[in-house]
Symmetry: C2
Subunit: 136 residues, 2 copies
């Protein structure tokens, strides 16, 4: 039985959990666990979270099949954040992207610059899309 | 001027920001930003956070010199978490470790096993410490 008594849940009884792909080190998502979600994660070896909007526990991938198999769980110096290294089956994001962090602040400006450039230089749409993909 | 109006600060006016080393992809820490901290981060190119305990803005490294130079800021599909890729000067953690996530849940059991092994096999303290360092 792994001791979790050092973990400091916040005033809502939650702790943020960062999920990182153990193979690539990419950060996939952040979600919240209450004590029961953390205990179920430890007991089952796959990630469980607490949904603040739906007010219930949920297993990541329970409907999509895109489960996260836990390899290691770290906690920070304040013991109020978890870092979970996991194997991701399929996509982490419900939008179908590998990571939930697919949007860059200021990214639209860069994309706009590329689109404007295509007007100026007459690049093909596919070239612009390829560059946009690089930016994203 | 980078648009941040899509960012959803929580009921305390805060958004969690994951700091990731842009060179190694290691997750260094998680701290919270209010709108002013995010704006100062964008304006200065180094990370600023809001301290919930001290109730004020602080610049990471303002006393230690261990600043974080921002390279990219991503936000997630809910726009309620930031992922900041940064160059870390020195150590991210106030405890002097490279990352704040230096403790593993269940890790004490592994360390205890190593210490027990040293008693059995008569390893030197430095060997055990070296192995402990590897585990940590």
């Amino acid at each position: 039985m792994i001791d979790i008594t050092m973990i400091r849940f916040n005033e809502q009884g939650l702790v943020p959990a960062i999920i990182q792909d153990v193979a690539t080190n990419e950060v996939l998502m952040l979600a919240y666990m209450n004590q029961e979600a953390l205990e179920k994660t430890l007991a089952t070896g796959v990630t469980w979270f607490y949904s603040r909007s739906r007010n219930r526990l949920w297993q990541k991938g329970e409907t999509s099949g895109h489960i996260q198999t836990v390899k290691d769980i770290y906690y920070d110096c304040d013991a109020d954040t978890l870092l979970i290294k996991a194997e991701q089956t399929g996509a982490a994001c419900h939008e179908g992207t590998y990571s939930c962090f697919s949007r860059k602040l200021g990214g639209t400006a860069e994309m706009k610059a590329l689109v404007d450039a295509s007007k100026v230089y007459g690049q093909s749409v596919s070239t612009v899309l390829h560059e946009l993909y690089g930016v994203i």
